[in-house]
Subunit: 663 residues, 2 copies
């Protein structure tokens, strides 16, 4: 059920779901309301008057009975229950004109859950990695006493026209008993045999069926797969029904390797210790097992229903998961042990599933362009389209792929952990209390702060940092070098221990009891991170004689990417300044591709082909990249012609703000 | 150095090696010398007079100084050191005419050690199961930072034109360090990838190279294979140099599974117990490990020089070795779990070798025609020749293969353990003190007994039983039903507790302090065993409208078979009565074939083809077999026309003996 909320006096409308928090509705509409406690209701600043319509809002200490009776409410404690009209008090209001000129990003497609996302790849049919076929065999006689395995294979040939088969030894061992205790009526699970060892590049392989499981009776109605994305921070999994192609559930857990380091580099360093690789493998597997348990619990399915797993991860995650040497990924010239490395049995690496469950791992391209990117390119269909696409996966490393169905080039640029809160004084992950929504009144410089869970602020998460940075910029609180304007009439901008800073939350509003700030040092780190990504994209384009204008599509992938406000990303120069309709938010593209290979053997071959097709362009010693990186250390960029729309918007807005401030 | 020994007064000559024991020379020449202590020198009966030539013989208590000076010696304590003339005293002498009429078997080719045996298979070239190639790679740079595995594969392609490769995950894991600590100069071990799982029948597979090991520097001069025959009683192994194709050493140990039962049936019964399969697998592997240690100790080679193992064994041994279900091999209709079952890593079943060592297991045909027979057919070249061949492997089961390059039929008949000493009162294995050589004086009925190790007799081994049985028959001590002649004038033939028996050794001559005898019950068991084998051969031939006369060759294989006297085997009806030159003794054919697959990838494919090509004829419910079996329970056979030469010989000899006895 959707309702329209009209904010007065500027008459700004927004359609929201029933029950939407009013403060968040205002934030989404670009309506400024002072709010400093993150949404917990304790600062009492976000008072609004409900002029019409129905809301759900308790009476709080911050609103007197008189005021309450008159229709005043705390926006952060109020849910929208019908169409309504809300008046913003004068002390909260920003500039109407400014608001009206915000860049529109509503047209960019955005999916929140990969479970809801249809693979963009086309032309594949349901031809899953594992199939289950029932078999009714005749009992042996003295005249026909071939081995059980031979009888079984004859049955497959005669009843299902399946010819080209190998069989797992564990399966052969179990076969005699299962056949006889089930009166020779059984169900065979067959998997396409991706590769049981790593095949060296350039070699095409047949992928014959492999017999991995026999069960009594007909169990062919239960055939599931698990698609997994092993991220540096998060392990995500989907349970997929191989008969229908439907995703049944999606779960995510922190990658427990975090305890040994926040990024791949610190984990590689940890892996140099004697027991390091073993510990890192064991904890990531325990995270995976947890995701599996949650998926099964939610769907009421059993472990024995799972036939196969497809795993996508960056090169380091994949190496650690399989117990491979990672040392040389970190040291120049950045060489992985193997680009293509596949095991056959999930249980062999410790995954808590029956030992018949087959494991497929996506091939990688280079040390910093891994199987997750190959999987994303597969799932996004970039490799099939004539359109020129730029695929961006934002994380500690920004991975970029450029190309179409004829060619693919890729690069990785070290953005550093700034956008994940690393190296930022009050940076944090998107946990409870992390500032994610932020708006600033350009005249009063008072903020509107919304946190994850609407509790008192504890810090700022990645998407919050982008909001904060773009707001500071577009409200003329910082200049385009990322330095604070020194003359602003607010105690929120001050000189702190580490240089100038803006106080996002005073100690009395924060959960930590300390002021929460963003400093010029933090801003410098963020500018470096966004600069690296942008320079990477530009270098990749120019190395192929292309420019942003040539792009038909930009796909933003990555779990983090899906929370980023496109407009704000453009404002700070993180994303190129091209029309909004060319942008697509994919969500977790890696997980999408992993689901796709479970569903289609043809796509599984395509994944191997994509990995071989991608040309990696090493940026770390690329002079052109270094030049472009220096040029990008500006908001949005030193070269204004690269961001025409953004620069025009900023120029106009700054003029207006200056005149307002001077007034 | 060979010398001629002439036995007088019958002027019988034999050529023997320098140092040959004189008693054994007499036995081989068919010259009877009374000897009852097995060759230990304590009975003093084997006195002979050295009339000319040089012998090496100590003075013993049994010969007075006068006699010694006159040239008397104990034959069992005497070695031949030149051409010599030896006179047999009258009390020892048998019948000259009889001796002269002995069937000649000298022309049958006989090999004692499989190590000396050249495979009879033809047309193969040295193209071993595993190769080692040195590789000098360039170190990676930022411009060329492909994965180690990719670099490695490029090197193989450029330096050795090796393209089609997969790689073991363990190997990829070790690769980064080995490459860097050896300055990118390494040696790769590649194996033909027989099958990493069991391939179902009827499917042709590519056998691409598989990378299994990387070592620093150039180690390609050390590349060994292990050929193994897992017999029910004995585990035999050969160490093979894959560069030259030479066998370096051969060793054998008892299969320690013996403690759980002497034959496959009792072991299958033991395997029904909860821990049975695990125990049986573990002990046979410990026997294999012992053989490996001995081979390495003898040759001074190291475990790390071994690249691959080929294993041949009967179906039950192979199942137990790999830990597969054996229950249904024993129960009608006798179905193995799998005919073709292959693991890839020897260490996975517990063999104490590095985990890069690849394991190939021969495919079997049926529950009682196993990989050892497939291996024997391969090694013997039967599958390549136009000539029609009957291949016989004698053991607890008699396995028979009939055919040529166009077709192969096989059958197994349960001979029982009689020829291995099982179910025979004083039967034993061919250990120290086992009677193996036996001759009888048809007039005095005194025996000539030679034991393994020439020590006091402890019992009779398999080849000894054949000697004893044929001697009792041809000396008219038993009739053609296997019953003792009741009227013989010797206390050696007597009625014992279990019916009539012949005393092979009196208690004072034996090592056990008891009389060692062979009884009518024992003889019955032996007749059943030889009857089963002969009936099996006949059934197989007749089922294909063939007779023994159609055979171009008979190959006798099996470690036991190589000690059998062909003539004596014919006499009792164990072997068909066809010309001696058609017989070939192969020794351990199974081991021979195992060596061959190590040396030639082509032969490895042939092994798989042979297994599929063989048609198994089940004898257990075959009425024709049962009839033929009944007919064969006679010495040599109820149908004299099947043994024309033997019957004529026996008739003539018996007449002579009767007239001599009557004289």
């Amino acid at each position: 059920m959707k309702y329209t909320v009209t904010f007065e006096p500027d008459n700004i409308e927004i359609r929201v779901d029933k029950g939407t928090n009013l403060l968040e509705a205002a934030l989404a509409a670009g309506v400024h309301i002072n709010a400093t406690c993150g949404g917990q209701g304790v600062c009492g600043k976000c008072r609004v008057m409900i002029e019409a319509g129905e809301v759900d809002s308790e009476k709080t200490e911050k609103i007197s009975q008189d005021k309450y009776d008159a229709g005043w409410r705390q926006a952060c404690r109020t849910s929208v229950m019908s169409d309504c009209t809300v008046r913003i008090p004068v002390e909260s209001r920003g500039l109407k004109l400014v608001i009206a000129q915000q860049l529109d990003m509503g047209k960019a497609e955005r999916k929140v859950s990969a479970l809801d996302t249809k693979p963009l790849a086309e032309g594949w049919k349901l031809d899953p990695m594992a199939i289950k076929v029932p078999l009714r065999l005749s009992a042996p006689t003295l005249q026909d006493n071939v081995s059980d395995l031979t009888r079984f294979s004859q049955g497959l040939r005669q009843q299902h026209e399946i010819e080209d088969i190998s069989a797992d030894v564990r399966c052969i061992k179990a076969m005699p008993k299962i056949l006889r205790t089930n009166d020779w009526f059984v169900t065979a699970t067959l998997t396409t045999d991706p590769v049981r060892d790593a095949f060296l590049p350039g070699i095409e392989k047949n992928r014959p069926w492999k017999l991995v499981r026999i069960e009594g009776g007909n169990t062919s109605d239960q055939n599931l797969a698990l698609a997994l994305d092993i991220g540096t921070t998060t392990v995500s999994g989907q349970l997929v029904d191989l008969r229908t192609g439907m995703g049944l559930a999606e779960k995510a857990e922190y990658n427990r390797q975090i305890q040994y380091g926040a990024d791949v580099i610190t984990r590689i360093v940890f892996a140099l210790k004697p027991e390091g690789p073993k510990k890192l493998q064991s904890v990531v597997v325990s995270s995976i097992n947890e995701v599996i348990d949650e998926l099964l619990e939610e769907t009421g399915k059993s472990k024995k229903n799972i036939s196969c797993i497809a795993v996508a991860g960056n090169t380091t995650m994949t190496h650690l998961f399989l117990g491979m040497e990672t040392r040389y990924i970190r040291e120049a010239p950045y060489v992985p042990a193997a680009a293509s490395m596949l095991l056959d049995v999930a249980a062999d690496v410790g995954i808590d599933l029956p030992d018949c469950v087959q494991l497929y791992t996506f091939p990688s391209v280079a040390s910093y362009v891994g199987g997750d990117i190959v999987s994303g390119i597969l799932g996004s269909g970039v490799f099939q389209k004539e359109e020129l696409t730029l695929y961006i996966d934002i994380g500690t490393n920004g991975e970029i792929v450029l190309g179409n169905r004829d060619w693919l080039a890729c690069a990785a640029c070290s953005m550093g952990p700034a956008f994940e809160g690393g190296g930022i004084k009050h940076g944090m992950r998107a946990d409870l209390g992390a500032i994610e929504g932020f708006h600033i009144n350009p005249v009063t410089l008072e903020p509107m702060v919304v946190t994850v869970g609407r509790t008192r602020p504890r810090g700022v998460c990645g998407s919050g940092l982008i909001s904060v940075l773009s707001e500071l910029l577009s409200a003329c609180v910082i200049d385009r070098n990322g330095k604070f304007i020194r003359t602003l009439p607010s105690d929120r901008v001050r000189k702190g221990r580490f240089g100038y800073e803006y106080v996002l939350a005073w100690s009395e509003d924060s959960d930590t009891g300390h002021d929460i700030v963003i400093s010029e040092v933090d801003i410098e780190n963020l500018i470096r991170a966004k600069g690296a990504l942008f320079a990477g994209c530009l270098t990749l384009l120019e190395s192929l004689d292309l420019s942003f204008d040539d792009l038909d599509r930009v796909i933003i992938a990555g779990a983090f990417g899906r929370y980023i406000n496109l407009e704000k990303g453009k404002l700070i120069g993180l994303f190129p300044d091209i029309p909004v309709e060319r942008f697509h938010f994919l969500g977790n593209g890696s997980l999408l591709g992993a689901r796709l290979v479970c569903l289609s053997s043809g796509m599984l071959s395509e994944a191997e082909r994509i990995a071989k097709m991608m040309t990696n362009i090493e940026l770390s010693d690329n002079h052109s990249f270094m030049d472009k990186y220096m040029g990008a250390l500006f908001l949005p960029h030193t070269e204004a012609h690269l961001f025409p729309t953004v620069c025009e918007y900023l120029d106009t807005k700054c003029q207006m703000i200056q005149s307002e401030r001077n007034a």
